[in-house]
């Protein structure tokens, strides 16, 4: 069981690697590679597992048959429903990996897909930086204020128990006041925008002027210069500095000015850039070391890494004659 667990841990990482290979080679080769990299389980264990899985399948086939069929289309719709659909290559790789493992194909496949989905969600969330503004929520939670009618009713109720002939207390239209209040509170107030609206208003072409002219810019600058008062206190000075860019914005965002839209596999798997180099020899060895170092470097962008590799390519091409003499 430990072996299978360890293999499961390695397969999500392996799956991402294989999906990268699958991008280049057809699916057949991908499956061959996975078939070669199968977990080495002893023959007896394999037989036992096969027998167990067969018995399980036969036992649970009837009640689970419907469930599994229902879950698969549900799974696919879930994939498409969750904002960003998973990479089809990743899905293929996951299914291929699941088929290579000895038992419970569908379960492993669904587990792998769920892990990938979670990974995508966290990266998306971090990219967008969505947080529910607690302040706006709390600001709307006002203290319930009694209407004067209610207040008078309550005080009157306390002062003298007005009893009807029947012995019941007079309720001077309390229910109507309550309903009126709730109706008023429902539609009054600023929208919190927690639940996103599906409707997107069509942006009208308001900009009849295509681009502001230089004179407009100059006028705007003049107006800003005239209206800008010198800062009255330290806070306003700091605000001005933040606007000019002298002072950083707090809380400090570590990724200001660094917009790397590349996925992790573009940073790590740089072998596809090595196509221009000879397949054997010291140069290939050297370039593989270079790629290993670049893949571990978190400070460079993908563009910079590619530029490094291309420079080396140009350099070695220029020195081709020299290299052939050697």
């Amino acid at each position: 069981k430990d072996k299978s667990a360890a293999s499961k841990d390695s397969t999500p990482e392996g799956a991402s690697k294989r999906q990268k290979d699958g991008a280049e080679t057809p699916k057949q080769q991908l499956l061959d590679i996975i078939g070669n990299m199968k977990v080495e389980v002893s023959y007896r264990k394999k037989l036992q597992q096969l027998k167990a899985s067969e018995s399980k399948k036969q036992a649970l086939n009837k009640p689970e048959g419907l469930d599994s069929e229902g879950s698969l289309p549900q799974g696919t719709t879930e994939d498409t429903q969750r904002g960003k659909p998973l990479n089809p290559e990743l899905v293929k790789a996951a299914s291929a990996v699941a088929s290579s493992l000895p038992r419970n194909q569908k379960q492993t496949e669904s587990e792998l897909l769920a892990q990938l989905r979670r990974h995508e969600e966290t990266t998306d969330k971090q990219k967008k930086g969505e947080t529910i503004n607690i302040r706006s929520v709390i600001s709307e939670m006002t203290v319930k204020r009694q209407t004067p009618a209610q207040r008078s009713a309550r005080t009157s109720g306390r002062m003298s128990f007005q009893l009807d002939e029947d012995g019941q207390r007079i309720r001077p239209g309390r229910s109507s006041a309550h309903s009126f209040d709730s109706r008023r509170n429902l539609k009054v107030g600023k929208r919190l925008n927690i639940f996103t609206k599906a409707s997107t208003e069509p942006e009208h072409a308001l900009k009849t002027v295509s681009s502001p002219t230089i004179w407009d810019l100059e006028f705007a600058k003049e107006v800003a210069a005239v209206t800008a008062q010198p800062p009255r206190n330290g806070f306003e000075e700091m605000i001005q500095w933040t606007k000019e860019g002298i002072l950083w914005e707090f809380p400090i965002d570590n990724e200001v000015g660094m917009e790397d839209d590349a996925e992790f596999h573009e940073h790590i798997f740089l072998e596809k850039h090595l196509e221009g180099f000879p397949k054997e020899g010291p140069i290939r060895h050297f370039m593989e070391l270079v790629i290993c170092g670049l893949s571990k470097n978190p400070y460079l962008s993908v563009k910079q890494k590619v530029e490094h590799i291309e420079w080396f390519q140009k350099y070695f091409e220029e020195k081709k004659e020299l290299l052939q003499e050697i």
Binding site: K221, A224, A225, A228, P230, P231, Q240, E244, I246, P282, I283, H285, F286, L289, V290, E307, H308, W311, F312, Y315, K319, L322, L323, E325, I326
Partner: protein
């Protein structure tokens, strides 16, 4: 901090601030040696990538030696000011080459001056 603000002003030497409120902007370097140091820093930044790559070829035990000798000659052919070793961390305000603390980029005399006038954030006279 005063030093950081003036550093920024030094780098953007001829920028005119849009706001009308007067602020001290230094538009000249303290002396010629500081200007030459600034030029060297600029050149080192421009050639940094190239130098890194050529050095990667040179400091190698895999590539053939002839290639490394060629790389040696190439890196020697680059302009002298492009090597980072020639940069000297001078004091930002007085251009003093010695006695400069890296954290504040100030010479010891200027540092003491500002610290005594309580213009250095978080700096206090030691007493124990």
């Amino acid at each position: 901090m005063a030093a950081a603000a003036l550093c920024w002003a030094l780098r953007a030497a001829r920028q005119v601030l849009p706001s009308p409120c007067p602020r001290q902007v230094r538009s000249y370097y303290v002396d010629w040696r500081m200007l030459r140091d600034a030029k060297r820093r600029k050149m080192a930044y421009e050639h940094a990538d190239e130098r890194l790559r050529i050095n990667a070829i040179r400091k190698n035990s895999i590539l053939p030696k002839e290639l490394q000798e060629v790389a040696d000659k190439e890196i020697a052919a680059l302009p002298l000011d492009s090597c980072p070793v020639r940069i000297r961390n001078r004091c930002v305000l007085t251009s003093r080459p010695r006695g400069v603390k890296r954290r504040w980029r100030l010479s010891r005399i200027v540092f003491r001056h500002f610290a005594d006038h309580a213009q250095m954030s978080g700096v206090q006279r030691a007493m124990w």
